[in-house]
């Protein structure tokens, strides 16, 4: 499509804030659509040269993303739409995809289809075709299908459906150039992509024609939408289409009444829901098309690796124990390999601190550098190897395709607690960070399910809580680190389930909706991918330590160092206060100590927990600074042990029982500021993050006090 130059300029400037296109340059918009896990993001990356994350489980793309590429004299914008199974307005991603195609009218829609699951993936393609948009089918992952002896005749498929099809392998880039060439030809009108109306059978067609007649009563409506598509949607009782009629059609009452009458008549005749009648007809058509175009070689012995593994990991009884076991193995590897590396990092900081002490005269600057920055940031960085290994393990599970299986086996468990099976995705993403975890709750169509998931997702052990728990585990349970860490991780899940159940029984009562989880084939992650993950995780952790944690450590150090106890004063009570307790931070910690004492926490833990609301890693840096200042005050020497775990483990005021209570408290209490802000953004009001902060603080406190007090009564507090 050649847009007039002024429109190109306006569109481009509006979207990208740039000065405009050079004259004569053409601008096209190509939308990438497809079922979840069809390899859409890998095709998008291959087309744009971007490195969007490719998840081997459905639901990776929740929002649409775009990338612009210059091809000869053309500027092409690719829009990666969220994965959807259909264009019914059941979930947010379906609405996002559908509205984009309807309202933004891209020049071409490239529907990415998983060739190994063509029957279901063609269902979405048919709906796009009905919508009347120019469409190109990308038969993706053809390498996997052909390896199984399956041959797809793409030309034959093209002639049956009237749509160009191109075979692609998104991960290697095979066929991508051809796909781009075909898509541009369709955009420029050199290649046809037919708008086709599927014949739904005599009775349905009669109803369909009658509804179109009523729709045509409004001329302006006719110009905005494909009447054929709207008529089908009205028969399917699509709520979004009904709303469109209500809001935009002049004679909405007549149209809706006609649609209702015809729907009821068809349902009486067929004894089925209208949506089912239409869906069955689409599948029947697809089935026929596949029969004509897909050939399976009988000579080739197909050994389905995926099916064999699935027989074990999806077993009704073994599924959940296997998932828990897999996570245990990941934690075991993390601690076995990570602990020695962690000790190595602390040696680096020890030498750095000694070096700074030697070259700098004693004074506030030396104190800031050694006690504030090195103890604070260094304390957090010593956990770098553990964090990297931990998340590398999780990346591995995702890349292999195992996480989808975990979601599948957990589905029944989720339902027991009133959660939707798809809540597994936000939960699992929250084990990295609750912020994207909360955003990914958009995959839940039911708003009550979504709210509950958002409110409990931050109870997972995220990337910030993990090093804090690892520190406490290493300090108090060095011989049982893996089992304790794993138990605390599991505790986070269980708390999320229990609280979700309470919410579902009280605040968010509602029916459960069924869950369909796509099970992708198992794939072995490449070594290159593993290194990319490792580099990504290390650099981001270091970046966070060098920015937010650094700034927070400096501020915390100041609050714990000033004001100094006056050297000359008549007030005896002031004279006797230890210097650190006289500081702003010390006074704040002492203020909350009486309440926290019930859970076995002293003022140092109190101030660390308060600072941890900014970001949970700040708990480690605050404790590191506290021990650093204390050591200097008692020995007048710089603190040289940067393993906070060693210091906290030696502290006479603390016990393993207190450590358990503290880990439980940290797992539950107030989510970090970023998480609370994201909850506000997603749920549209500050009342929800405030409620979340309140309930988590209350539950954390009750749990920690309960554990500490009952443990003490049982004699476990020593």
């Amino acid at each position: 499509m050649n847009l007039p130059a002024h429109r190109v300029h306006r569109r481009f400037r509006r979207r990208h804030g740039l000065s405009g296109l050079p004259s004569g340059q053409k601008f096209y918009r190509i939308a990438l659509a497809g079922n979840p896990n069809s390899g859409k993001t890998s095709v998008f990356n291959a087309l744009t040269g971007q490195r969007q994350h490719i998840g081997n489980y459905p639901g990776v793309t929740v929002e649409k993303k775009s990338g612009i590429v210059q091809i000869d004299d053309k500027l092409v914008e690719f829009i990666d739409l969220p994965g959807t199974y259909s264009l019914s307005a059941y979930s947010l991603e379906e609405v996002v995809s559908r509205d984009f195609v309807l309202n933004e009218k891209p020049d071409v829609v490239v529907d990415v289809l998983d060739s190994s699951n063509l029957e279901r993936h063609l269902y979405l393609l048919l709906q796009f075709q009905e919508l009347g948009v120019p469409i190109v089918g990308a038969l993706n992952m053809t390498d996997e299908v052909e390896a199984k002896g399956v041959k797809i005749d793409s030309e034959q498929l093209s002639s049956i459906l009237g749509i160009p099809f191109v075979k692609t392998v998104g991960s290697t880039g095979a066929g991508i150039e051809r796909l781009l060439e075909v898509a541009l030809k369709v955009a420029e009108g050199q290649l046809s992509s037919q708008k086709r109306h599927l014949n739904y059978g005599k009775q349905v067609e009669l109803a369909h024609e009658a509804i179109i007649d009523t729709l045509m009563l409004d001329e302006s409506f006719k110009e905005r939408y494909s009447l054929h598509w709207i008529a089908v949607k009205l028969l399917e009782k699509d709520q979004d289409a009904i709303r469109k009629i209500e809001n935009e059609h002049r004679l909405s009452a007549i149209v809706l009444q006609a649609a209702k009458d015809w729907r009821e008549r068809l349902e009486r005749e067929f004894g089925e829901d209208c949506e089912v009648i239409i869906g069955e007809q689409r599948y029947a058509y697809i089935h026929g098309a596949i029969k004509e175009t897909v050939k399976i070689s009988r000579r080739r012995q197909v050994v389905d690796f995926t099916e064999n593994i699935d027989r074990i990991v999806l077993n009704r009884f073994l599924g959940i124990p296997i998932f828990l076991g897999v996570m245990f193995v990941i934690y075991q590897i993390t601690f076995k390999l990570g602990n020695p590396l962690s000790d190595g990092v602390s040696i680096v900081f020890t030498h750095l601190s000694l070096f700074l002490t030697r070259i700098l005269p004693s004074g506030p600057l030396q104190e800031l550098l050694t006690n504030g920055i090195i103890n604070g940031v260094g304390g957090v960085l010593t956990f770098l190897p553990l964090v990297v290994l931990l998340f590398l393990g999780l990346s591995f599970l995702e890349d292999t395709g195992y996480l989808s299986r975990a979601a599948f086996v957990m589905d029944k468990f989720f339902h027991i607690f009133g959660l939707h099976g798809r809540s597994f995705i936000p939960f699992m993403i929250s084990t990295g960070c609750a912020v994207p975890g909360i955003m990914s709750a958009r995959v839940l169509a039911n708003q009550k399910d979504r709210k509950v998931t958002i409110l409990v997702s931050p109870l997972m052990m995220c990337g910030a809580k993990a090093p804090v728990v690892a520190m406490l585990v290493a300090a108090f349970f060095p011989d049982h680190a893996t089992i304790i860490f794993w138990s605390i991780w599991l505790f986070g899940w269980l708390m999320a389930f229990v609280i979700a159940l309470i919410f579902k029984q009280s605040l968010f009562r509602g029916a459960q909706t069924p869950f369909v989880m796509e099970l992708p084939p198992y794939r072995l992650p490449t070594l290159k991918n593993v290194f990319i993950h490792m580099w990504g995780k290390s650099s981001e952790y270091i970046k966070k330590a060098g920015t937010v944690i650094l700034a927070a450590s400096i501020v915390v150090w100041f609050l714990l160092s000033y004001p100094k106890v006056p050297t000359r004063t008549n007030d005896v009570s002031v004279e006797n206060i230890p210097a650190i307790e006289y500081s702003f931070g010390g006074q704040l910690g002492k203020m909350v100590e009486p309440v926290l004492r019930w859970a076995g926490f002293d003022w140092k833990i109190g101030i660390s927990l308060i600072a941890g609301v900014a970001a949970k890693e700040v708990i480690i840096s605050t404790l590191g600074i506290l021990y650093g200042i204390e050591a200097r005050l008692s020995t007048d020497q710089p603190h040289v042990d940067f393993m906070v775990k060693n210091e906290i483990g030696k502290d006479q005021n603390y016990s393993p029982l207190m450590a358990i209570a503290l880990m439980v408290f940290i797992m539950i209490y107030i989510p970090c500021i970023a998480t609370l802000a994201m909850v506000k953004k997603e749920l549209g009001s500050w009342k929800w993050p405030l409620f979340q902060a309140g309930y988590t603080l209350l539950v954390a406190f009750i749990m920690a006090v309960g554990i500490y007090q009952i443990g003490s009564l049982l004699g476990l507090g020593g």
Binding site: H16, L18, T41, T48, R51, Q52, H53, G55, V60, T61, V62, E63, K65, S66, G67, I68, P361, G363, P364, L365, Q366, L368, V387, V388, F391, L394, S395, E398, I429, G432, C433, V435, P436, M439, S440, G463, I532, H533, G536, K537, E540, Y541, K543, K544, T547, V548, L550, A551, A552, I554, V555, F558, A614, I673, A674, T675, A677, M678, K680, K681
Partner: protein, 54 residues
């Protein structure tokens, strides 16, 4: 005034401002937290750095 005190005061003030600005930005645009997430490469949901640029 001792030169060390001046440097420390400047660093503390700059850090406090930077921290305030960081949290202000986080509250306004919470997905910016994704830019410094260890799982960024693992998840394309929120990070603006992951988003392709023209």
């Amino acid at each position: 005034m001792d030169w060390q005190v001046i440097i420390v005061a400047a660093v503390v003030i700059a850090s406090a401002i930077a921290l305030f600005r960081h949290f202000h930005k986080t509250v306004k645009k919470p997905e910016s937290a994704c830019d410094s997430c260890s799982m960024k490469d693992q998840c394309s949901i929120g990070s603006s750095e992951n988003k392709p640029q023209p």
